[in-house]
Amino acid sequence: MRHGKYPFIIGFLVVPLALYLVFVVGAYLQMFQLSLTDWSGFGGFNYIGVDNFVKLWDDPVFWVALRHNIYILIAMPIVTIAFALFFAFLLNVGGKSRGGVTQGVWGSKVYRVIFFFPQLLALAIVAVIFGRVFGSDRSGMLNGLFPDSWSPWLFLADERWALACIGIVLVWQQIGFYVVLFSAGMGSIGQEIYEAAALDGATKVTLFFRITLPLLWDTLQVAWVYLGIAAFDCFALVNIMSVNKGGPDNATQVLSYQIYLNAFQNSQAGYASAIGVVLFFLTLTFAALTLRVTRRDAVNA
């Protein structure tokens, strides 16, 4: 417009950009620098070139952790989105049709609040509670449901199931948000579209696959990105729930927890930074791929 706009723009953006430069760019540069050192976390350090990365390449625990990250990255968003879509659909269009208008199931307003509740419990609390749910003796909630003669499931102490248990908690914690998100998306789909399709004799299943799903596509893509980020960063649950620090026998080891263990417990901050560098590039690749594949034109305001 007419008056000088640049004073405003610069004035409004100088603080956030400064914060970003110092805390994000600066922090990353420092992480890259540390990844080339043998720093223990205390005192001085020497530059050792790419030794940390060579060590990483030969470290079986790193590969196990990476594999677990990839499992979670694939399985968790699919399961969460599938369940959330199903229940959002139930809440919005699963009920009776009255006067041609499809409605949600009975009490859908109450459900909406209930589904959102896990989102309100802090991850720390959720992890502590599910530690009890999956308790490996009779004091565990699930095992406690069975009679004395029952030989208890080990859950988190069983290396075959430990990661799945943590995955279940991740889904449980995330799903409510996506039910609400998809419900909002479905709410914005015009009733007359459903009406017309119902008049043409479409079943609920047809309605879902032919109308709801295509019209929700944008929202689904957003959900996918958010879930992907959550999948990369499942540190909190592993930290609190896993038996024996990412165990048993590294069965729940993930990259973010490896960073933490190496930096703050094993006094290998240089090595931990190297893992951080790898995680950085992995996340960046995921983001770039997702943005490219989904081609969501978010940049045009």
Binding site: F8, I9, F23, A27, F117, I125, V128, T203, D218, I229
Partner: protein
């Protein structure tokens, strides 16, 4: 399959079985979602012997508030509560002020580098937190801001900003530019337009963003656990500390968990109606 006429009301075929199925599914799912919450409440109000018993008590036989009393009296609980409020308050207030201005700049002006800034905001949201923990610790140590509430608030501000800017930008973009222009023709200066027109109209957005930011900062524990000693931590860190140290004192722990969750639940109930709008505003106004 076929739509049929039924008392003049159109229904979708097999609707009766479908409805039963849908309702059962909904109820079952709701039970799974709510069970842990129920368990927290149940445990918190039970006396110690009922908590420890293998006999399942589905409701406390002798409800008591003892657990709440011992939680409040526990070491570092009250300080954790106060610390959490201070840190969260500082971080959210700062994020709203800084974020609102930045969102204004991005939503209302076209300038060189605007796209780059939007990309930066999106990318920061993707940053895995753990990767930054070591350098952040070093940085704050250099400024003598470890073991300080200000240091943690500063880090939380940085973490909250991308979401704040992105969401508020969505809200501001939804306000017609014609309003600005009309006001300016009537003699408003640009700062007056921001202050008198855009700020009030962004009100709901500010509330939604503040609540979301509050939840994020209030529930955070990894950073505060790493940067600060127990006396300068929040209630989340307190919970974890007590979970590992005392192992089986579930009653007080769950009572503490309830007190910890209370502010978030209250905020949520206050703005419950608008939460979906608030959460999706940034996403939908692409």
């Amino acid at each position: 399959m076929a739509a049929r006429q039924d008392d003049g009301v159109l229904t979708v075929g097999r609707s009766r079985i479908g409805t039963i199925f849908a309702n059962t599914g909904g109820v079952l799912f709701a039970l799974v979602m709510i069970f842990p919450v129920y368990w927290v409440l149940n445990t918190a109000f039970k006396p110690r012997d009922e908590v420890m018993s293998f006999e399942p008590y589905f409701l406390p036989a002798h409800p008591t508030l003892d657990n709440f009393v011992s939680a409040i009296k526990a070491e570092n609980f009250l300080s954790g509560l106060v610390n959490g409020l201070i840190i969260t308050g500082l971080a959210v207030a700062a994020a709203l002020v800084v974020g609102f201005l930045a969102a204004l700049a991005i939503a209302r002006f076209n300038f060189y580098g605007r796209r780059a800034i939007i990309m930066i905001i999106l990318c920061v949201q993707l940053v895995p937190l753990l990767a930054l923990l070591i350098p952040l610790f070093l940085m704050l140590q250099g400024w003598e801001l470890t073991n300080s509430l200000i240091g943690v608030a500063l880090v939380y501000l940085v973490l909250l900003l991308p979401y704040t800017v992105w969401t508020l930008r969505g809200f501001i973009a939804g306000i017609p530019k014609e309003l600005d222009e009309a006001a300016m023709i009537d003699g408003c200066t640009r700062p007056q337009v921001f202050w008198r027109i855009i700020l009030p109209l962004t009100g709901p957005g500010l509330v939604a963003t503040a609540v979301y930011g509050f939840i994020q900062a209030w529930n955070e524990f990894i950073i505060i656990n790493t940067l600060n000693s127990p006396a300068k931590q929040n209630l989340m860190a307190w919970l974890l500390q007590n979970q590992t140290e005392r192992g089986t004192a579930w009653g007080p722990l769950m009572a503490g968990a309830i007190i910890t969750s209370l502010p978030v639940v209250i905020f949520f109930l206050l703005i419950q109606r608008n939460i979906a709008t608030g959460l999706t505003a940034g996403a939908v106004k692409g």
